[in-house]
Amino acid sequence: MRMAQPRPDAVFAPWDDPSETPLIQFKNVTKRFGDFTAIDDLTLDIYAREFFALLGPSGCGKTTLMRMLAGFETPTEGTILLDGVDIGPVPPNERPVNMMFQSYALFPHLTVWENIAFGLKRSDMPKDQIGDRVERMLKLTQLGKFAKRKPHQISGGQRQRVALARSLAKAPKLLLLDEPLGALDKKLRHETQFELMDIQESTGTTFVIVTHDQEEAMTVASRVAVMVDGNLAQVATPDQIYEAPTSAYVADFIGDVNLIEGAVEAGSTGTDVAIKWSATEEPIKATSDTPPPAASTVQFAIRPEKVAISSEKPDAANVMEGKILDIAYLGNISTYHVEVAPGLIVKAQATNTRRISRRNLTWEDHVYLSWTDTAGVVLTE
């Protein structure tokens, strides 16, 4: 799902390096609108050259967080540091931060060229260098042919690139992208995600992107912050978020997941955890780095693609018996909804390596689901 960062020499992970100083530091930031708390005592570090994604449902406070970085909102409490400087009292026009708006906010009375040059003309850049800079931005975003057009004379994808070029033109320390690809259709969005990553790589700018599209966040970001109700649910790399969510909320929000509630059985040793989820069935065997105490209630989370499905009983750590209720055929994969106990449905995903007529599983079939003891995670929240 995610492209590896093209850095063969070293993994880009400044957040693991204690000697690195963050570019942006949110320190106990709270933002209230009247009675409504949009951001609740939030602390977060973002490092230079990062492509940082703020992910969450609408109303979770991700846009407010971004608007505070741009300077359109001021925190009610707490401080925001950029390069170690408190940017609270700095107005938007004096911040080394530029923003790409969700609506693109292109100036309709100016041409593409003038739109890109707009910020440069307000800066102290000498006049003769502005032309070169604009040309470079046009080349970067492949807009050379459209320089003289007005925004309403170009397509949605081109407008998106103009907005990007305009916000990058002043070479900001930090670029904020508010749902930058929301208005594009799916195919164009996928292409543009990779373009965005290339541009972020080549310019070395720190990007902070706000999105509600988890696939987009996973694709482009070096780290993802999942937000819920003004709080950070988890901040981690996309693979950690997906493979090792710290809460049932994150596990459920990112991708598809089976959540099975149960109680921890006594007598577990080391990292092994056995979860009693039904009075009659075998407990689920799982592992956890921090095993929860016996008898505590936990959620066992496992991704459908890690559950194997077969008509004969396999030899695995966890095996469940059930009946196929539903099959969602998606072309490359199929998702089977299997009822393993009254009211408990577990989803299993299988890659369709054979053509449909050769497959033997169908509705009402009696099947076995199986997974290893390390396939899922044990969640206490």
Partner: protein
């Protein structure tokens, strides 16, 4: 075919009801005053051909229509040269995207040269034509020409003041919280619920020597003796600005309301202060609304009659008032008709410009 017929019907209706009264007025303006009923000769009673041969232009000569037409032609020439010829010639001569200092300087010089040639052409044409037109331009009675000029002056000044007051109102409305806007809009429209005449009369009560304004100011001790406001041009300006304010506010509000708020934020994000963001983004984007509002105020103000006759004094000369006096006090229908026809001709220019502006706006929306 059927559809065309259907559309043709109301248009024919409108055309007839414009053309017939206009034809009658035009005919009267070409007649001579007489002590008769109706108060002009010749009429249809003399027979159609006798009537036609009896028509002449002497009323137009009397009111100085030649001068009006000449001034009018000069203005039209200037507008055409600078609105149509100048940008086209400049576009043809100057490259679109200047590269470097030399090109920019060359472009500026070319533009200046084209502008100078333009002015030279205008001056040349006028200089050539004026001596020939001297007889034509000769004004027997300066009153009418002065009334046209004074109407123009009052219309321009009051349009300016209406804009000055109307823009901030429209801006405030467009920036007000969403749930307040319908109420504010209602408040702007509310005066239309009462008669225009009564509202103008109300101003007499406010502005007169014993009026509320003077009482208020005297009460405050700001002034020691009442100000004379009523029956001066100042009162006329107050009346016009008050009456036509909604016509200025509504189109500007429509233009501002449609504007995306994030545009101003984007401008500030790119380094503009609040003030420069206004001049660089908000002002140009509300221009169509400003132009529409100005025309909506300017066009009716030019022929305004009620406000100057109620609030103005004897020194307030406006063509609408002159027209009224010619018609009802002097009972000189032919001269009054000639004044009306000239007024219509003068109004055609701003009306055409207004239509052009609306057209451009519609095309920009698409």
């Amino acid at each position: 075919m059927k559809r065309r017929l259907l559309i043709a019907l109301p248009y024919a209706w409108l055309l007839i009801f414009f053309l017939v009264p206009f034809g009658i007025v035009l005919k009267i303006s070409l007649s001579d005053i007489a002590l008769a009923i109706p108060p002009y000769v010749p009429t249809m009673k003399d027979g159609f051909w006798t009537m036609l041969s009896g028509l002449d232009l002497e009323n137009y000569a009397f009111i100085g229509a030649g001068a009006v037409v000449a001034a009018f032609a000069a203005v039209a020439l200037c507008v055409v040269m600078f609105n149509i010829v100048y940008p086209r010639v400049r576009r043809a001569l100057v490259p679109d995207t200047p590269n470097g200092f030399f090109d920019t300087a060359a472009a500026a010089l070319t533009a200046l040269a084209v502008a100078l040639v333009n002015v030279a052409v205008i001056v040349g044409v006028l200089a050539l034509l004026l001596p020939q037109l001297r007889a034509f331009v000769d004004i027997p009675d300066f009153l009418y020409f002065a009334a046209y000029l004074s109407s123009l002056k009052i219309a321009i000044i009051s349009t300016f003041f209406t804009l000055l007051i109307g823009y901030p109102i429209a801006y405030g409305m467009a920036r007000a919280p969403e749930h307040w806007r319908p109420t504010l809009l209602m408040l702007v429209i509310l005066p239309f619920w009462t008669s225009f005449l009564i509202r103008v009369y109300a101003w007499i009560g406010i502005l007169s020597t014993e009026g509320y304004l003077n009482q208020f100011l005297l009460g405050l001790g700001v002034i020691s003796e009442p100000l004379t406001i009523l029956n001066t041009n100042a009162a006329v300006y107050v009346g016009i600005v008050y009456t036509y304010l909604p016509f200025m506010v509504l189109p500007i509000y429509a233009a501002l309301e449609k504007m995306d708020d994030s545009l101003v934020e984007a401008a500030e994000d790119l380094g503009c202060t609040a003030l420069s963001a206004f001049w660089l983004i908000t002002a140009p984007l509300s221009k169509p609304g400003v132009i529409a509002g100005c025309f909506l105020v300017f066009i009716p103000t030019l022929g305004e009659f009620v406000i100057p006759s109620l609030l103005g004094g004897s020194d307030t000369v406006m063509i609408g008032k002159v027209l009224w006096e010619e018609f009802f006090n002097n009972r000189d229908w032919p001269v009054a008709s000639a004044v009306a026809v000239m007024l219509l001709l003068i109004l055609i220019v701003p009306i055409v410009l207004f239509q052009r502006n609306q057209q451009i706006e519609r095309e920009a929306d698409r």
